[in-house]
């Protein structure tokens, strides 16, 4: 670890300006639950830390029937999952949040930090100078890759670690990104990037850009949603794979719906084909079975992770059955 400056900006503009200087590597510091580990393990050695916690306006959760939810990036995971509207209308998000990390981490970790957290690949976190850290090989591709991706990989094969991101995808969420230059709004599905597009980053943020808010559109009354996280042990474990779905149902028919998958790809994963097929699907176990069989058709598992395919398919089927029961 080397010495770094600790900067306490009072507004986004200051924060962005300090972070955006290109002559040194400055990192944004929210709850620190991921960041401090990255620094301790020497994955990152920033020249400056920019504390976001003193910036006003990033801590609130607002809801209106027109706009839906607007969540400040610094809202704690535990605060969000306890919010009345989240519990009432956005089960998929509530469940994903409650399955994230541990109670202690959820009390410190923010939703913005969660979406921007770095991957958990054990080579990346260990003392391996791999591609993503500027080296010239990926150790996972023919190494120990049981927990790596089955689709969307190459030349790096991480999976994106966030649970809430998978849930938010099915809710058509978006984010506001601010910088000294102004703000822009981006759909969450366009926020994450694959290694083939940028091997050093997991999202589109440029130096000096900060996520300020997460937006979740309103859902209609007939919406049901849920999240199944599959992990090896009972708690304090990232998803081996996870499945989220948000469905609008009328009688025996799914009017439209979205499914998303965690633990399978370098970004929270969606398949347009599957979402198309959900539209108008009548509620029958047989239909769910054949739909699930279509998931991850293009997957190319590595030598230790082919088990993720039946796992994801079985979990999607299970989730659809659960959500459409009653």
């Amino acid at each position: 670890m080397r010495y770094f400056d600790y900067i306490q900006p009072e507004n986004i503009k200051q924060a962005s300006e300090s972070a955006g200087r290109d002559w040194r590597k400055a990192l944004l510091y929210a709850g620190g639950t991921d960041l401090l580990g990255l620094i301790k393990n020497e994955v990152e050695s920033p020249a400056a830390l920019i504390n976001l916690k003193a910036i006003p306006g990033l801590n609130g959760i607002e809801y209106s029937e027109r706009e839906g939810l607007t969540i400040g990036a610094l809202v704690k995971l535990s605060q969000l999952s306890a919010h009345e509207v989240v519990r009432e209308k956005y089960s998929v998000l509530e469940q994903a949040l409650k399955e994230t990390a541990s109670p202690q981490l959820r009390n410190m970790g923010t939703i913005g930090g969660n979406l921007c957290q770095r991957p958990r690949c054990w080579y990346f976190r260990g003392d391996f100078h791999c591609l993503r850290k500027g080296g010239d090989i990926c150790y996972a591709v023919d190494g120990e890759n049981k927990y790596h991706c089955v689709i969307g990989g190459g030349p790096c094969f991480i999976v994106h670690p966030s649970d809430p991101a998978v849930a938010l995808l099915t809710l058509d969420a978006g984010v506001t990104i601010a910088s000294a230059k102004g703000t822009k709004r981006v759909a969450l599905k366009d926020f994450f990037v694959l290694p083939e597009d940028d091997i050093y980053r997991e999202n589109i943020l440029q130096p000096g850009e900060i996520v300020t808010h997460i937006h979740v559109p309103p859902v209609s009354e007939k919406t049901v949603s849920g999240y199944i996280k599959f992990r090896e042990r009972g708690a304090w474990d990232f998803a081996v794979v996870s499945v989220a779905a948000t469905l609008r149902i009328n009688g025996d028919t799914i009017i439209d719906g979205k499914a998303a998958f965690g633990g399978v790809a370098p970004k929270p994963w969606q398949e347009e084909k599957i979402n198309q097929k959900l539209k108008g699907l009548s509620v029958k176990p047989g239909n769910f079975e054949s739909l699930s069989a279509e998931v991850l058709k293009e997957a190319e598992p590595l030598n230790q992770n082919a088990f993720k395919l039946p796992l994801v398919r079985n979990l999607l089927k299970r989730l659809l059955v659960q959500l459409t029961a009653s």
């Binding site: 054990w122 080579y123 150790y139 599959f230 090896e232 304090w236 081996v240 088990f307 079985n314």
Partner: protein, 763 residues
């Protein structure tokens, strides 16, 4: 009173005999009748409970001395290398760095047989390169980064099967197989045995490397006072540390004092002096300041020990009516980079009646951290394989697996040809089978409808854990009638303080609050062995009883002298001595103690000899009920019923702690834990508690404990057998068998992870 003699004492400690001369008590005391006991056998709360819960307990990790320096270790990043050149100049220049040791300036101290305290030949990732002391840990860590090391990188091997091949990279000049040949055991004639068999099962089972990962990391604080060295150490054996340190530093044992009060757990890796302790002592002497060294979690996962892995090829034969005719084991396991045991055949040699047995075991060097004893070394691995084979044989001959085990029950130890002092395994089977509902298990295996399939499986257990001499305890009675016990044993978190106080409280009939126990200090306490092998309670509690009974006799004779009566006229009750008959005269302990002063009120109790011609073993069985999600491969353990013959229970609360801990640890081994080494670089990937998956409270099943034994008076005056290791032995095997019962497919390698289950279900 106070009869004693010196004998040659021999008993099992972990997987081996210890043999030494011991002074033993020849005093005979009446067998304790459970119904009459007031303190022993009762659920007494821990005497250290308040300290632990309130946070006021000082563990070695917390010891702070004035002017103390902090040390860190530079460890080799490669699985196999030689130091070509090392330069510490830059590191020495950092303000706050106090001293650095490397192989160039440290004394050449022999370690691990053929290696040294600092060895320029580095045989695993994590091997010690340099040791730095500084004003604080942060500075020490910075200094590590500035030490320049030029490594010659050598070819490595991290897999035992590969390492056994002729052309494998060699760790030692004489090859990678320890001793150059297998260790072989044979009785009867297995060829003949297999000919007699009407069914034969043959199978290969594998177990993984497990890391101890106790809560408190390995740590020491050392302080020199002139040439008197005091060491606070997180250790299972204060005397073993004292002896090793005194030997290598060429100090009289009397000048080395090792202290351990509270400890955050240990499972075998803390049975010996660590290199770090000696390095700290060397550097502390050089810089003239106390030095603290505490390993971090990464070092804990790389460098201080593990349960060796195993590949076990087993073959068993049985007759149609369920008699075992032959058992054969060919196995190998990785010792790591330095000598250690990796055998696991005791299960197969001792558990069931079988006339024809052969085992061939290889211990193999690989470029990875060294194995150490780990809670029931060999047995946990051995039972996983043996009990699977037994189930497979039972299925082949169409017999209930429990009935098959009962058919092959033995009341004699077949390796040493001696009867057991006691063996109540059949009772344990009966009680536990009923509690789990053995009759209602799915039959045939895999027949539950699913997707959640339930299954029940079982495993027997045998272990030594009778302990033995030498073990001594001094008892001092104070003027006010309170008592101090001093013994060179140690409480590693298991409740030793509490159970020893209970024994004294029972004998002297005084309240627990009046008994203080001092353990873990070589300067003041008489010798006891290390806390391992499930031997502490069975070795030390009888010495305490002996000391307390002697004290009681002293008090009686003191009272007789004072009251001018003969001892036979006196009765000792509730800490008060009365004369018999009318005109009762009486004295309390306190009154006698005041009269006698503290001049004569010291006794030393000794563990008596073990009985000749007997084998002393504990026995038990666990039944596991699991639920397997056939769509995800996840195994959930719902319930474990554990029934044991472990002699006398001194305290049902500490017993429960041990059994719960053993089962949870066994469950971790069965389902989650595994040291994973990257095949291409030879580096360990699981170096934190996130990637190395210990079980969490959410994975913990319902646990139902049944004890079928009473005190075994053939063993000792307290009749105790140890329970620490027996608690873990059968868990992975029972879970493995339950998974088979649930899904009808056998997972032959641990841990039983969802990917393996899903793959098996698809085949």
């Amino acid at each position: 009173m106070a009869d004693s003699k010196i004998i040659k004492s021999k008993y099992f400690f972990e997987e081996d005999f210890t043999e030494e001369l011991a002074e033993v008590s020849a005093n005979k005391y009446a067998d304790w009748n459970k119904k009459e006991l007031k303190v022993v056998g009762k659920p007494v709360s821990r005497v250290d409970g308040y300290d632990k819960v309130s946070g006021s307990a000082v563990f070695t990790f917390d010891v702070i001395l004035p002017n103390m320096a902090h040390a860190k270790t530079l460890r080799c990043p490669h699985p196999h290398a030689k130091i070509k050149r090392i330069n510490t100049k830059k590191a020495e220049k950092i303000p706050g760095v106090l001293g650095i040791l490397t192989y160039e300036n440290a004394p050449k101290i022999s370690w691990y047989g053929k290696s040294f305290l600092f060895d320029p030949h580095l045989r695993y990732e994590g091997d010690e390169v340099a040791f730095v002391a500084a004003e604080n840990e942060r500075i020490a860590e910075q200094a590590l980064k500035l030490i320049e090391v030029d490594y010659e990188i050598l070819p490595f091997v991290t897999d035992a099967a590969e390492a056994m091949k002729k052309d494998a990279p060699k760790l030692y000049d004489d090859g990678n197989i320890r001793g150059g040949k297998p260790s072989v055991y044979e009785r009867g004639d297995i060829d003949k045995g297999f000919e007699e068999a009407s069914a034969v099962a043959e199978q290969t089972y594998k177990t993984q490397v497990e890391i101890h990962n106790p809560t408190e990391p390995h740590c020491s604080v050392v302080n020199w006072d002139g040439d008197y060295l005091t060491i606070w150490d997180s250790t299972q054996g204060v005397f073993s540390v004292r002896d090793r340190v005194a030997d290598v530093l060429k100090l009289p044992a009397s000048r080395v004092r090792v202290i351990k009060k509270y400890m955050g757990g240990a499972f075998g890796a803390k049975l010996e002096a660590g290199k770090y302790t000696v390095m700290a002592a060397l550097l502390a002497r050089k810089i003239g300041r106390p030095v603290r060294i505490a390993l971090d979690r990464r070092e804990m996962n790389l460098s201080v020990g593990n349960r060796p892995d195993s590949v076990q090829k087993l073959k068993g034969g049985a007759t149609k009516d369920g008699r075992l005719t032959a058992l054969y084991q060919y196995s190998y396991g990785a010792a790591g980079a330095h000598p250690a045991g990796a055998g696991c055949s005791w299960a197969l040699r001792t558990m069931y009646l079988c006339p024809n047995v052969k085992t061939e075991e290889y211990t193999v060097y690989i470029n990875a951290g060294r194995a150490r004893p780990f809670r029931a070394p060999g047995h946990v691995q051995g039972f996983f394989a043996l009990e699977a084979l037994i189930d497979e044989l039972a299925e082949k001959i169409g017999m209930d697996p429990l009935e098959f085990r009962i058919k092959n029950h033995t009341d004699r130890d077949q390796v040493f040809d001696a009867p057991y002092t006691s063996k109540l395994l059949l009772d344990a089977y009966r009680v536990a089978a009923e509690a789990i509902g053995w009759k209602n298990r799915p039959q045939p295996a895999g027949s539950d409808a699913g997707p959640l399939k339930r299954g029940i499986g079982m495993s027997s257990q045998i272990w030594w854990g009778g302990g033995g001499p030498p073990a001594y305890a001094t008892l001092k009675l104070n003027r006010d009638g309170s008592v101090r016990i001093i013994a060179g044993s140690q409480d590693i978190g298991t409740g030793t303080y509490t159970i020893l106080a209970q024994v004294a409280s029972e004998v002297l009939e005084i309240p627990m609050e009046k008994v203080e126990v001092l353990l873990g200090d070589t300067a003041v306490a008489p010798y006891c062995g290390s806390s391992g092998g499930s031997t502490t309670a069975p070795s030390v509690s009888p010495a305490v009883r002996d000391a307390a009974e002697q004290m009681k006799a002293k008090l009686l004779s003191g009272a007789a002298a004072h009251l001018n009566v003969s001892e036979s006229q006196l009765v000792y009750r509730n800490g008060v001595i009365h004369t018999k008959g009318k005109n009762k005269k009486s004295m309390t302990i306190r009154e006698i103690a005041r009269k006698m002063g503290e001049r004569v009120l010291v006794t030393t109790g000794k563990r008596e000899a073990n009985p000749d011609g007997y084998a002393i073993n504990s026995f038990g069985v666990q039944f596991a009920e699991v639920e397997v999600d056939t769509e995800t491969g996840k195994v959930s353990v719902k319930k474990i019923v554990a029934a044991y013959d472990i002699g006398r229970v001194l305290n049902p609360k500490t017993l429960e702690n041990q059994i719960h801990g053993g089962i949870i640890q066994g469950l971790g081994f069965a389902l989650f834990e595994e040291r994973i080494i990257d095949r291409n670089t030879g580096k360990v990937l699981t170096t934190n508690l996130h990637d190395y998956k210990l079980p969490t409270v959410k994975d913990t099943p319902q646990i139902d404990i049944r004890i079928v034994s009473k005190g075994d008076s053939k063993i000792s005056n307290t009749g105790v057998k140890g329970v620490g290791e027996p608690a873990m032995i059968p868990t992975p095997a029972a879970i493995g068998n339950a998974v088979y019962n649930a899904i009808g497919k056998r997972i032959k390698s641990l841990p039983i992870t969802p990917d393996k289950v899903l793959t098996a279900l698809q085949s």
